[in-house]
């Protein structure tokens, strides 16, 4: 199901600065000037009000023909650059939303009005998709769109899910088991299925997906709110500092114009992070989406960055899903033919890759014995997480079981047999080697052991090393016995493992980790996983999984690739780091701005103040204007960083902190000195001030 050749037909493959997205964003930057929109962001709201007030002062200058040389042009320049500051911030947000909006448009086109065959008393009635309610049954024929989300209750079909996942290879959806979920808007290619609808109109997966990618239901995440509070607090502090400077300067005998005070205020409040904050959040969600993971909320992505413990299913995540049967080891006194036939019968109806590989292995012996067809009237007993066995109950009362050794031994004991020590050393040998031993039994007798070989996915060890460097512990979850589990755990390089896992022990492990203060993330797909997915702090459900799992999780991986969780954790961390880095940068910028603006304000009254003009800026007006221009342009300059996130390498927290303090803290102090000086030189060269 997971192919490396993914043909991506959705518009999300576009670059961040795709022309269409940028054009649309420019237009949005102006519509977002609406004060009701700006009021959501206190820092930028202050800038917008400031821009408005300075514009009014410019208008007054024009009307009363202000005679102060150069003042009209100065007021206009400040007003314009303050408007630019707001527009640049709007632009950052609009670009961040761009890809999501384009994708939402695409999904909306998918969601055309579909007709559905509703099953009423065994007959199919054609109805509109929007008339379907939870619990309704619909029948879907080849080349028809599935009208709503639901579970397959009858039949099996290959389904094209590319509209949702971007994956062009069709997938099998069938009743029962863990591949029963279908999504509205996907297309049946062959065969027919009957689907039990699981969502009401407007609440479907596609609806949720549209609103998520579009950001319509975007709410500020807890961490974003906390940061907004900090930024608002800093803004209030600087409003106090600047407003009181008015009276101070009156006492000093150097009355400052409102425009100059406003310029100082806007330079001091944290506009850089304030202007980019929402863009960072939206871009973080978008990066998750680029990986084909649908996060149900920004909160979940943030929580992913905090994860301490990662529970990974062995099968499909650490090892390739298909374990191969490589050998059947016979118990004493059992004929090869008998064991092979029993293995073959018990696996014929077993559609798992392991089952098929057993059939393939036993086929030759069976053909030689001439017992190719199983006796009629047998009932297949499917594998379950509780019994950890599967098999066949024959019509004559005899039963065959294959499964986990301890489970099979217990089953034999129940039937009055005693297989306690049969093949014990072989089972142990297989397990030690990292393989999975299965025991095969018929009624009271153990016939043999089947050696299933596990195949590790490539590069897993490196990924676990990365996680360890970030301080995240990985725990492998497996139904295998402890010996097998520890061999594979060692080989794969995970920190710990949970062997012979049942839904209960898995849940217990999550709760234990949580009660010792750790945040737990896990992936899952089966209905059995739903409670654990809900309990985990970050639960990622596979799109191929059941509806129950998808509903319990707070993320859905459209590619159904369990290793994706690792990337989501990195994105979550990167999201917070980007916020922190730009906050530090923004606050550190203030030092240079003081040196630019304060001497300019007071140099006429106190010529001694010229000593503080360390940047040797040409004139007071060009000093103030340069600071304001720098303040606006730095937003534009940092948009790529805000949208892509800061560079992230998995390392210990103290090393990350040291580097980021050096880059964004010290850099934040130095960069504006250089930037303001350059702008001042340009302004003087152009004789603009």
């Amino acid at each position: 199901m997971i192919t490396s050749r993914r043909i991506d037909r959705r518009p999300q493959a576009r670059s961040l600065f795709d022309r269409a997205i940028v054009t649309r964003a420019v237009a949005d930057s102006f519509t977002k000037l609406d004060p009701r929109w700006q009021a959501r962001n206190p820092v930028m709201f202050v800038v917008e009000v400031s821009a408005l007030v300075t514009s009014l002062f410019f208008v007054r200058d024009v009307i009363v023909h202000n005679q102060t040389p150069g003042i009209t042009g100065f007021d206009l320049a400040i007003a314009l650059w303050l408007w630019f500051t707001v527009i640049f911030a709007n632009f950052a947000e609009a670009v961040a939303e761009g890809r999501g909006k384009a994708q939402a448009d695409f999904l909306r086109r998918t969601k055309t009005d579909t007709q559905a065959r509703k099953m009423v008393g065994g007959n199919a009635v054609m109805v509109n998709a929007n008339e379907l309610r939870k619990g309704d049954l619909i029948r879907v024929e080849p080349n028809e769109l599935i009208a709503g989300d639901g579970d397959v209750v009858e039949g099996a079909a290959s389904v094209d899910e590319s509209a949702i996942t971007g994956e062009s290879a069709p997938v099998i959806r069938e009743s029962g088991g863990d591949r029963s979920a279908v999504t509205g808007g996907t297309r049946v290619l062959s065969d027919y299925i009957v689907v039990k609808i699981s969502s009401n109109p407007g609440e479907s997966f596609l609806d949720r997906m549209i609103s998520l990618v579009e950001g319509a239901s975007r709410q500020k995440t807890p961490n974003e709110i906390a940061l907004s509070i900090l930024l608002s607090g800093l803004t209030i502090i600087f409003v106090i500092a600047v407003v009181t400077l008015g009276p101070f300067s009156i006492y000093a005998g150097t009355v400052q114009s409102v425009t100059v005070l406003i310029a100082l205020l806007v330079c001091l409040i944290p506009t850089t992070i304030g202007g980019l904050l929402s863009a960072i959040g939206i871009a973080g969600m978008d990066r998750v989406l680029q990986r084909n993971v649908l996060a149900m909320s920004g909160r979940a992505v943030e929580a992913a960055g905090d994860v301490d413990t990662l529970l990974l299913d062995k099968t499909g995540t650490i090892t390739l899903g298909n374990r191969q049967a490589s050998e059947i080891i016979l118990a004493d006194g059992v004929a090869r033919r008998d064991a092979s036939v029993a293995a073959y019968y018990s696996s014929l109806a077993d559609e798992t890759p392991e089952g098929r590989s057993i059939v393939a292995l036993a086929e030759q012996d069976v053909a030689a014995s001439g017992n190719g067809k199983p006796p009629a009237g047998g009932t297949f007993v499917p594998f379950s997480a509780y019994t950890r066995m599967s098999g066949l109950d024959l019509a004559g009362g005899s039963s065959i079981r294959k499964g986990a050794p301890d489970a099979v031994r217990a089953w034999v004991r129940e039937r009055g047999g005693d297989g306690a020590s049969v093949l014990a050393s072989d089972v142990e040998r297989i397990a030690r080697a990292g393989g999975t031993p299965l025991l095969l039994a018929q009624d009271k007798r153990i016939l043999g052991a089947i050696y299933l070989k596990d195949v590790l996915k490539p590069n897993m060890k490196e990924r676990f090393d990365r996680l360890r460097a970030m301080g995240i512990r990985t725990i492998m979850i497996t139904g295998d016995n402890p010996l097998t589990a520890s061999a594979i755990a060692r080989e794969a390089g995970v920190d710990d493992f949970l062997a012979e896992a049942t839904p209960e022990t898995k849940m217990g492990l999550i709760k234990r980790e949580q009660s010792s203060g750790r945040l737990v993330a896990m992936t899952g797909d089966g209905t059995n996983d739903a409670p654990a997915l809900a309990q985990a702090d970050v639960g990622v459900a596979m799109n191929s999984g059941t509806q129950a799992a998808k509903e319990a999780a707070n993320m859905v991986d459209l590619d159904s690739d369990p290793t994706k969780l690792i990337e989501v954790v990195e994105i979550g961390k990167q999201l917070l780091m980007t916020r922190g880095a730009l906050t530090t940068f923004s606050i550190a910028n203030d030092v240079a701005k003081y040196f630019a603006i304060l001497p300019a304000m007071f140099v006429t009254t106190y010529p001694a103040m010229q000593a503080l003009n360390v940047m040797r800026l040409a004139t007071p007006q060009s000093a103030i204007l340069s600071a304001v221009i720098f303040n606006a342009l730095i937003i534009i300059a940092l948009i790529p960083l805000a949208l892509r996130g800061v560079a992230y390498r998995p390392r210990g927290a103290n090393a990350v902190l040291r580097d980021n303090v050096l880059i964004y803290g010290l850099g934040g102090i130095v960069v504006p000195f250089v930037g303001i000086k350059i702008i001042d030189l340009i302004l003087s060269a152009l004789r603009l001030t």
Partner: protein, 566 residues
């Protein structure tokens, strides 16, 4: 600067370091209710206090009840001192026959001593009766220090606890502060000061004729007992106007050293106590290191400026350090060291006139206060002030490492950031806004001793000092009804509006579960964290005041270099 000058500072700092651990352990034991060396004597007294006052020391309070208890206690204290000062003429122990204070004067003094500010518009020796000094001012010198210490302990508990709603019992903390910390030290050191020659009597002032034939009244009274708690409780209100510059309050170099040690002793020790409560001494030493860096930088700055002296004076042929307004027996080093310590803490005691320091030298005490008095800081107040900055720093640092920030394993979230920023807002709001209003009101500017930039410095210094409950004055400002009333209000706001969010913040942290520490968690004791904490303190705390300072001491300094004087 001289070697002997620096040697004084080095010896002082070495003694402080040596004192921090034993006193820190002692404080931790006292406030955990464990046995201490003084328990055999004091435990029965403590028990008696609890029985008489019907206090169950084991019954802990939530943050809000703790604050209610503090407020109730403070309100009674405010009214008591106000009534006392308004009626001292009719009360005993008034040999000089001083009159009652005016309503605004009594209000100002009551607010001032309640809040550990000890801002004094009056001269103690010509205003306060001995009874007022002892039953009013000294009482508050003890309990305002005790309250600060209690709040700090409550905040420490809150920050270091896990999954508990309560932060301690205010009445028990207050009782222990007084009984185990403030009283015993005051008695012992008070006797040492008496031995060094500080008066302790109820006599009338002695009238003498000095060598040059002038008549002089030698002020005296119960001075030594006041002196010790003035410094130890970081109060700073002098018995006499000259404060620790007076030979009767601070007779010699040894008492000067002792008084300086007393000011920092508890505040420095509390960093160790914090580490002990956190079960990780590195946490405490990180705070100690942060404070030490700011302390040493402040001292070096002011000492360099004072030792360099005034170029205008140098041109007149007088070389050497700036000694205007300093006691020659202390000199530039001991004067700037005392002034730095006094404004790092909320003491505000002076052994020289800050008004007469050079502009940059005088900027240091101002900046010390504008940092929020967290350089060791006032008794208790310094520690909880620093913890507020730590919370903000942890938040910013945590974001930078890509994890929801944690302090001692507890997540710093929306509520904690909100409370921390509310506390930080108090200083700029109550320092800058009243300064801005007053600087335009003739009723206020008429009281300034100077005009121009220096006059502005005086006004700014005054409101910074009262907001931060320091109480030191730049000198030059004389009180009137307007200033008495306004500064009284500002002192109350500066203290209590900070305490409220700080204690609620601690309560909020106390209720949190602790998350496990991994390599993904940054440590709050690494040098890089200390550096970041310093950055946040300077940029968020002090840079706010740069525009105001630029119009005061900074422009004065630049003008001095150009030959202008005030």
């Amino acid at each position: 600067m001289t070697v002997s000058g620096w040697l004084q500072a080095v010896i002082y700092f070495a003694l402080l370091c040596a004192l921090t651990k034993p006193l820190g352990i002692y404080l931790a034991r006292v406030f955990s209710g464990e046995r201490t060396i003084l328990s055999p004597v004091l435990a029965p007294v403590e028990g008696l206090v609890y029985r008489v006052c019907r206090i169950d020391p084991k019954r802990e309070m939530t943050a809000v009840s703790y604050l209610f208890a503090l407020f109730a206690f403070s309100a009674v204290g405010l009214v008591w001192l106000y009534v006392l000062l308004r009626t001292q003429k009719f009360l005993p122990l008034n040999p000089q026959g001083f009159d009652n204070l005016t309503p605004d004067g009594a209000w100002n003094a009551a607010a001032s001593f309640l809040t550990n500010t000890n801002w004094q518009f009056y001269s103690g020796e010509s205003t306060m009766s001995y009874f007022s000094q002892m039953a009013g001012l000294a009482w508050h010198n003890f309990v305002s220090a005790g309250a600060g210490l209690a709040v700090a302990i409550a905040v420490i508990r809150g920050v270091t606890r896990t999954d508990v709603k309560a932060v301690g019992n205010f009445w028990a903390d207050m009782t222990r502060s007084l009984l185990y910390v403030l009283l015993p030290v005051s008695i012992v050191i008070g006797l040492v000061l008496v031995a060094q020659g500080i008066p302790q009597n109820f006599h009338e002032y002695t009238s003498v004729t000095s060598i040059d034939g002038m008549k002089q009244a030698i002020t005296q009274g119960p001075m030594a007992s006041q002196e010790v708690i003035k410094e130890f409780g970081t109060n700073g209100g002098g018995f006499v106007n000259a404060n620790s510059a007076s030979p009767n309050e601070n007779p010699n170099g040894f008492t000067n050293l002792l008084e300086m040690l007393m000011m920092f002793a508890v505040s420095a020790a509390l960093t160790y106590t914090y580490g002990r409560f956190a079960k990780d001494q590195r946490q405490g030493w990180a705070l100690f290191a942060t404070m030490s860096v700011l302390f040493i930088a402040g001292f070096a700055g002011s000492y360099a400026a004072e030792a360099a002296g005034n170029p205008i004076v140098h041109q007149l042929g007088v070389s050497g350090p700036n000694l205007e307004g300093k006691e020659v027996r202390f000199g530039a080093a001991a004067s700037t060291l005392f002034g730095t310590i006094s404004t790092d803490t909320s003491t505000g005691a002076v052994n020289s006139t800050h008004d007469s320091w050079t502009p940059l030298g005088g900027l240091v005490p101002l900046v010390n206060m504008q940092l929020g008095e967290i350089v060791f800081g006032g008794i208790g107040t310094g520690l909880y002030g620093m913890i507020v900055f730590v919370v903000l720093t942890v938040f910013i640092a945590g974001l930078m490492v890509g994890r929801t920030p944690e302090l001692l394993g507890k997540k710093i979230e929306r509520r904690e950031v909100q409370l921390a920023i509310l506390a930080i807002l108090v200083l700029p709001a109550f320092c800058l806004i009243p300064t801005a209003i007053s600087i335009l009101l003739p009723v206020a500017t008429a009281q300034l001793g100077n005009n121009g930039a220096h006059g502005f410095s005086e006004m700014l210094y005054m409101f910074t000092s009262v907001t931060e409950n320091n109480g030191s004055a730049f000198g030059g400002v004389s009180g009137n009804t307007y200033l008495n009333v306004v500064t009284g209000i500002v002192m109350l706001c500066g203290r209590y509006l900070f305490i409220v969010p700080a204690v609620i913040l601690a309560g909020s942290l106390a209720g949190k579960r602790s998350v496990a520490e991994t390599v993904g968690t940054f440590t709050t004791y690494s040098p890089i964290f200390v550096a970041l904490l310093l950055g946040v303190i300077i940029i968020v705390g002090a840079l706010t005041f740069v525009p105001a300072d630029a119009l005061g001491p900074i422009v004065e300094h630049l003008q001095m270099l150009q030959g202008k004087q005030f």
